[in-house]
Amino acid sequence: MEGTMSHLFTHPLPWYIAGPLIGLVVPALLLLGNKPFGVASNFRHLCAALAPCGIEFFSHDWKRLGGWNLAFLLGIFAGAVVASEVAPPLALTLSPHTTAALHQLGLHDLTGLTPHEVFAWASLFTLKGFVSIVIGGFLVGFGTAYAGGCTSGHAISGLADLQPASLLAVCGFFAGGLAGTYLILPIVLR
């Protein structure tokens, strides 16, 4: 079963199939209930559910406004579990430039979905693990809440709707991403 299913897909699923399918999530959610495609709002809904602490940003009715979005989030998790069981991603073919750059940063095991030397429980309290996982996660949560959206909310939904705010946000995504890649990762990983 596992063997046959794996061969249904070429790995990775080509961009010209994956991209349009992801784009179709936008009309699917609109037609289903006039919902805007976005993942990061779930952080806000979960904060409102778990620790509102009287903060105005978390005083919204998260069940009514965020219920659908949390169901969507749970779906992402379930879909990822099924996909990695049924048709696990194979060894990826990485571009030679990136491979060389990562070797230079001291990463040698380039298999799997994340570098095992960094994203492991044992690395959590090393500098590279702590910065990549704990600080990185914190910045994702802080930044998406501040910007009012993430890749799905701004880069896909917002740009498709020609919203100037989303174009600014995407410029920020890349400014931060380039700074992280070229300035911070070299210090942290070495």
Binding site: P20, P27, F77, T98, A120, S166
Partner: protein, 138 residues
């Protein structure tokens, strides 16, 4: 309102994120190093497909169950500070974790359980933003 359809669309999205290796830390590195077209192809065609869909929905004047026309509420631009500053902070986190929010959750289920810590940390980040919100430029 039943939540099952949203769960199913989310599942399809999760499957695509894994199968197209959008969840891969290495693919995000390739993207930020401009070494491969893969991620740009995905985001570009996703935007294009979404844009054509939005135009079609507007042209046809499709309305929701409550009679409202389908579409997004426009984001208030203001000074734009929150989008640039917030976007930059998120971009830093995207490069460090190699994951935006969807992939962050997908990775927990796809064999990198330690990403649960990054997810909880992201909740801490959003909570901190909520706390500091009145003092930040928007």
């Amino acid at each position: 309102m039943t939540l099952l359809p949203y769960f199913l669309i989310g599942s399809a999205f999760g499957v695509i994120l894994v199968e197209a290796e959008v969840v891969s830390w290495f693919r995000i590195q390739e993207m930020f190093r401009f070494d491969a077209f893969h991620m740009y192809g995905i985001i570009g065609t996703a935007v294009l497909t979404a844009a054509i869909s939005l135009l079609t929905i507007k042209r046809l004047g499709v309305r929701g169950p409550d009679g409202e026309p389908l579409g997004f509420t426009p984001k208030v631009l203001g000074t734009g500070a929150r989008y640039l500053a917030g976007g930059t902070v998120f971009g830093l986190g995207w490069a460090l974790t190699g994951a935006c929010p969807g992939p962050l959750v997908a990775l927990v289920g796809a064999g990198t359980p330690v990403m649960l810590v990054a997810f909880l940390s992201a909740l801490g980040g959003t909570w901190t933003y909520g706390r500091l919100r009145p003092k930040l430029p928007h």
